[in-house]
Each structure stands twice: as structure tokens, then as C-alpha cells.
Amino acid sequence: MSNWTAAHLWLIPLLPLAASLAILSLTKKQRAFAAGLAIAGQVLALLLSLAAFGGAIPTPTYRAVHNFVWFTFGEQALRLGFLLDPLASVMLVMITFVSLCIFVFSLGYMAKDENFGRFFAYLSFFSAAMLGVVIANSLLLLFICWELVGLASYLLIGFWIHKPSAAAAAKKAFITTRIGDLGFFLGMIWLYGRSGTLLFYDGGHGALETAGLLSLGGAATSIALLIFCGAVGKSGQFPLHVWLPDAMEGPTPVSALIHAATMVAAGVFLVARVYPIFSLGAIKGVTTSLLVVVWIGVVTALISALIALAQFDIKRILAYSTVSQLGLMMVSLGVGGVAAGIMHLLAHGFFKALLFLGSGSVIHGCDEEQDIRRMGGLRGAMPVTFLTYAVGMMALSGVPLFFAGAWTKEEILHATSLWSVSRLPHFLMLAGVVLTALYMTRQMIYVFFGERRTAPTHAHESSSVMTWPLMVLALCTIAFSLVLTPAWPWLHDFLLGVRPLFNAASLIQPGLFLALVLVAIGIGLGVLIYRGAGERDPFARTAPAVFRFLENRMWLDELYDWTILAFARFAAQLSDFLDRYLWDGLVRLGGEIGRAFGGLTKGFDERAINSGVNDATVFARGIGRLVAARHSGQVQTYLGAIAVGLLALLIFYAWLI
């Protein structure tokens, strides 16, 4: 079974893709059929993924590779391939599972949308591309699917295309990620130029295997950093994080699927996938490239956590939280905790999807209201949503023991504490934990507690098709922690290719207490500060300048707008200007010179040459007139002329002899 699945891994992305294409060819009316196709595709993909996962479990360091020739150019062949290893298998399961939940949720959330079918087509397409990223055994194939993921994200963010803000956000997302992708692209071609292959694993000849890595030599750092650019773009790391909050213009299921659970995690996945390149030549687990990864992650995590404190849009808060968590994952990868990072990724996938879907449910219930200041007291109106949301919130904040997020976060903190370069990231991440708990508490209080404010007068619980996914995801978030505990770090060891051992003793760790304390501080502070907060944020009251700074996202968007974008627009206008007036001007000047030359010669021809001839004629005629006047034009004159002519001939004759 497992062999069959590994060999037919391509079926996993293909099924959603086929579903997507099939849906696109349907008419608008066939809504149920469209949704059915999408969900069927997703279910099948989930089953296959589970099969693949199941096949991968028994063997530690499982790795099934299936390579093939894409096309040949010159005498060379460009090869692509699929790969199934622990990393891919867990990602497959997580993605297909979360996707399925979100698909089902969308049935309710998008029920009234006119382009219901198209939405599912896009979702399926996204799912296919994302699965492709996960199973790619070739940097090129990964890049291809990576870009397709970007396209899907673009389409879905701009799904409500009649909203100009959505279109703008979609454009911003695509272009910002593409900036990173260009780095990725350069890194990829550089890698290809060095190692001559883009396959990760190829029976010893792959780029991530010893021979391939050795051929990179000194370029490894640059290549790694360039590839990291791609990850920065996709995972919304500083300084390319600006697109992600804007991307919340898309429908909420999209935000849940793409901008929380899966796509944004692709950057982390990418770094994990090509980790051998990052860690090549590491001294005590540190390389230049990893150093960069760590600091980018730290900055991102802190900045976005701070900004999240001052946002009012329910989805934006979650978006910044996502950015922050992704930063955390990057830090983890950078300091060497690959497994920890991936585990957090998986856990984050579950609970962030849960949170987003919950927020979707809230928004849905409140008639598309997204401002938390207008919500409040929804606890009673939306009990299921409230409970599941609370689970998600606690998982995110890292409340220990029962929630997946806590274990993974703890693991990351542990990894940072061991980093040989500096302890600073560790402390900063601890601060991050506090901040996370703080802003989540703020959100909870604003949304679910207190009095009902303006909008949700007739707020209601969502239909069961939406609440069921919430509950499933909440359960998963809790259940997932079973395989994460230090007592039985099954997932950790599975990812590292080690047989897990059960050790109840290791459940009790100092870090766990530290986390508990920090989370408690965060939540406690939150409750203290935001209890009874009204329209005006308490924080804004105490430190308005700082609050405004954070509320406006540190004015980073404006900064980009005034510097990079302004420069680019100026360059565009300049190019156009130069084109019209300099380069074309030169051409026109050439033409004008030609014309002027024509005019000049024409004048010369008429005035100098031709009139010269005419003047000569006139002169000759004048002489003739003169002579004629003397002899009044008689026969004899002519006779005389003949005589003179005779004389002339004689003289000529004389001259001859």
C-alpha cells in the first residue's frame, strides 16, 4: 500500500486539481455539484495522504523518491520528482485535513455568494498547488507549485473582485511575494548552475546529498539566503510581511486556509526542506544564513506581536499573530530546532485555522462586521463558537498541558535557550509569549465578553455546517498534543527519524513552568487592562503616541510607499520620458537632420546650381542681344558671323599645325 502511494504520490495534488478544472467548466447554477466535487477531491486526497503517512510511519528515516524527466534541452535532461518522507507525510495530512475542514466550513460561509462554484475551484486549485509544494523532490517543481500557490492566493484574496480594496490587496500580495520569489528564483538557478541538478534526493546525486552539497562550495551561503528570500516573502517575514494583513480582504475561509494554516507556512517548510544547504559547514550549528534566519524571525515575531496589540479588525489581529508565529518558527529553524519548528507549524495549522474559522463564524454571525470594538458579549449568542475560539486562543497563547501550541512553543523556547550565539532571541521570544497571551486576551474580551456594543444586535450562532468544523478542529488541537509531549515526543522523533520512547519523567520540565508563568502574566495583564474596555482602547488612552504608531503598523506601508514604490514609479515615469524624448528624440533628430539636409540641398540646387546655369544662359543671351542690336538682325550679320567662323576655323587649323 505504502509503496503504491509513494509511487503515485502525484495523484494527491492531481485529484484536487482535477476537481478544480471540472468545477471551472460547470455553470454557475451547479453549486451543489461544484462543492461536492471539491470536497470529494479533498476527501480522496486526505485518504491518500493518510495512506502515505501510514506507509511512512513504520520505517524511521523513511524516504521514497520518484523522479522522472520533464523535458530535455540540448543534451541535458531536466528532471523533476516526488518525495515522501516524514516531513512531507505529516504536512500532507495536516494540509488535506485542515483543507477539508475549511471546505466544509465554506459550504456555509459562502452559501450566499454568487460565485460559489468558482470559490471552490480556486480552493481546490490552491490545495493542489500546496500539496505539490509539499511532495516536490525538486527545487524547480517546488518553485513551480510555489508560484501556483501564489497565484491561487492572488485569486482568492481578490475573490470579491468588485471590491477595489480586495483587488489592491491581491495585487499587493502577489507582487510582494514575487519580490521574494525572485530571490528564490536566483538562488535556484545558482544552485542549478553549481550542482547541475535541482533534485533534492537522487540516489546520492541530489542537491541535498553529500556530493551535491559539496559542489556548492562557498556559494552555499548566498544560495541559502536567496532561497530564504522566497520564504520571507511567502511566510510574511519582515520586511515583506506587509501583504499578509492586507490579504484579509479575502473571504475568511481563505484567510484560514491560506494565510494561516498552509501557504504562509510554506516558507517555513521550504527552509526546513533545504535545511542542509542552510546548515552546510555549520560550526556549532551556526552559519551565516541561519543567523540571518534567526534574526529575521525574531524581528518579525516581535514587531507583529506588538502591532497585533493595537489592531481592531478581528482578522487582522489574527493575521499579525500568524506573522508573529511564523517568525517564531523561523527562529526555531534558525537555532537548529527543525523538528520543533515543524511541529509548531503543524499545531499552528490546526489552531490558527480554528481561530480564523471562529472569527469567520463571528463575522458571519455579525453581518460581516469585523471591528472588534463593535462586538462584545457574544459569548451567549454564539456558544459553540465561543468555546472553540477559546480553545484556539489558549493553544495560541501556549496554555500548557492540553493544547498543542503550548508543547511546541515550549520546545522552541527550549531550542532557543540552547543557541550558542546569543541568549537574546530566547529572552525576546519569552517576551513574545507574553505579548501573544496579551493580545489574544484582549481580543477575547473585546469579542466575547463585556456588553454588547453596536453591531451584533441580532448576532446568532452559525449553522451546523460551520460549527462542526470548528469543533473538529478544536478537538484536534487538543488531541494533537498527545503526540507532542516531551513524555512521548512521537512527532519530534518521527521527523528526526528516531524511534520514539515513552518517558513520563521528561514531562516535567523547568521550561514548562516558565511558560506557565509567562502565559499567566500575559492573560492576567490582559484581563486587568481590557476588562471593561469600551470603544476606546485602554492602551490608546495611556500611551496614545505608541498606540497610534502600532495601529498604523509602524508606518511601514507608508515608508515603502514613499521610498521604494515612489522610486519605482519615478523610474517608470523616467523610463517613459526618456523613451519618448531622449531615445526617440534622437531618432527624430536624425530624421530632422535628414529633412534639413534635404532643404539645404534643395536650396543649393535651386539657388546655386540651377540659377548658375540660368545666369550663364542669360549672360550668353545678353551678349547675343548686344551683338544683334549692333547689326539689327540682318542677313549680313549672319554672313559676317560665318566669315568670322571661317577665320576661327583657320586659326584652329593653324594651331593644329
Partner: protein, 160 residues
């Protein structure tokens, strides 16, 4: 003998010609003209072209001179004298003469004397006219006829 005759004839002829060209009275000029042509005829005789000489006398002295005199008479009343004389013409003539003379003197092989030749009989001339020169002869005949008719037409009074 020949040389003497040549000199005499030359002087007479040229003198007559000069007179014909310069005399004011038309009639006198016409007479001198006739005399000059007699001189030319004499040259022909001297050169052994007797037939040509005779024709010269008949045609010019006999016909043309008479014609001229008749014309003078016909237009007599107003024009019997021509006083106008352009010295520029004389200059040109003199220059041409100088040029010609210079060319003649300059040319080598011209100072030959005549060798004896058998006389050119009229019979010979007639034969040639009727054989080799038959086409020119015919043309001349035509020309003369045309000239005759033309002259008549010109001179005829227009009928009113």
C-alpha cells in the same frame, strides 16, 4: 608667256571685281562685274578648261549680267546709287584674306607648276555628264526648272 598672261589677267580680274564691289553706281558695278567674270573665264581658258570658260562667259556675262542690269532698270527710279558702306565688312574681308593667304603660303606642296595634259574635249565632258554624272545632271535640270518657275511666280504681278 603663261606667267605674263596670268599676271595681266589676274590684275584685270581683281581690279574689275574690286570695282564691282565698291563702285557707287549700280550700273557701273554691274558692268565691272561682267568684266571680272570675263577675267575668270580667261583663267579657265588659261588652265585648259575651255568648255567651262565658255560656259562662264555665256552664263554670267550673257545672262546674269544682263539680268542684273534689267533688275537695276526695273527698280531704277529710287535706287540707282548705294552710298552706304560698312567698313567693318572690309575689315572682316581683309582678315579672312590674310588668314587664307597665310594658310596658302604656309601649306607645303602648293608651289607646283602644271604639267602638260591632253585637252579635255567637250565630247569627253558630255560623255561623263551622261554616264557618271547623270543623277546630278538630272537634279540640276530639275533645279533650274524650279528656279525658273519660282522666279516667274515671284516676279508675276499679283492679280487684283
Amino acid at each position: 608667256m603663261n606667267s605674263a598672261a596670268f599676271i595681266v589677267i589676274a590684275i584685270l580680274t581683281l581690279a574689275a571685281a574690286l570695282a564691282a564691289a565698291t563702285l557707287r553706281k549700280l550700273v557701273h558695278a554691274a558692268l565691272c562685274f561682267a568684266a571680272a567674270f570675263v577675267g575668270v573665264a580667261a583663267f579657265y581658258f588659261l588652265l585648259g578648261a575651255e568648255f567651262v570658260g565658255l560656259i562662264q562667259v555665256f552664263v554670267y556675262v550673257g545672262a546674269v549680267a544682263v539680268l542684273i542690269v534689267f533688275t537695276i532698270l526695273l527698280t531704277r527710279r529710287e535706287v540707282e546709287e548705294d552710298r552706304a558702306f560698312h567698313w567693318s565688312g572690309a575689315l572682316v574681308a581683309l582678315a579672312v584674306f590674310a588668314g587664307l593667304a597665310w594658310a596658302i603660303f604656309k601649306s607645303a606642296g602648293l608651289s607646283v607648276t602644271a604639267t602638260a595634259i591632253p585637252g579635255l574635249t567637250v565630247k569627253q565632258i558630255g560623255e561623263m555628264l551622261m554616264t557618271d554624272y547623270i543623277w546630278p545632271l538630272q537634279c540640276i535640270g530639275l533645279l533650274l526648272t524650279a528656279a525658273l518657275v519660282g522666279a516667274l511666280v515671284l516676279v508675276m504681278e499679283e492679280k487684283r
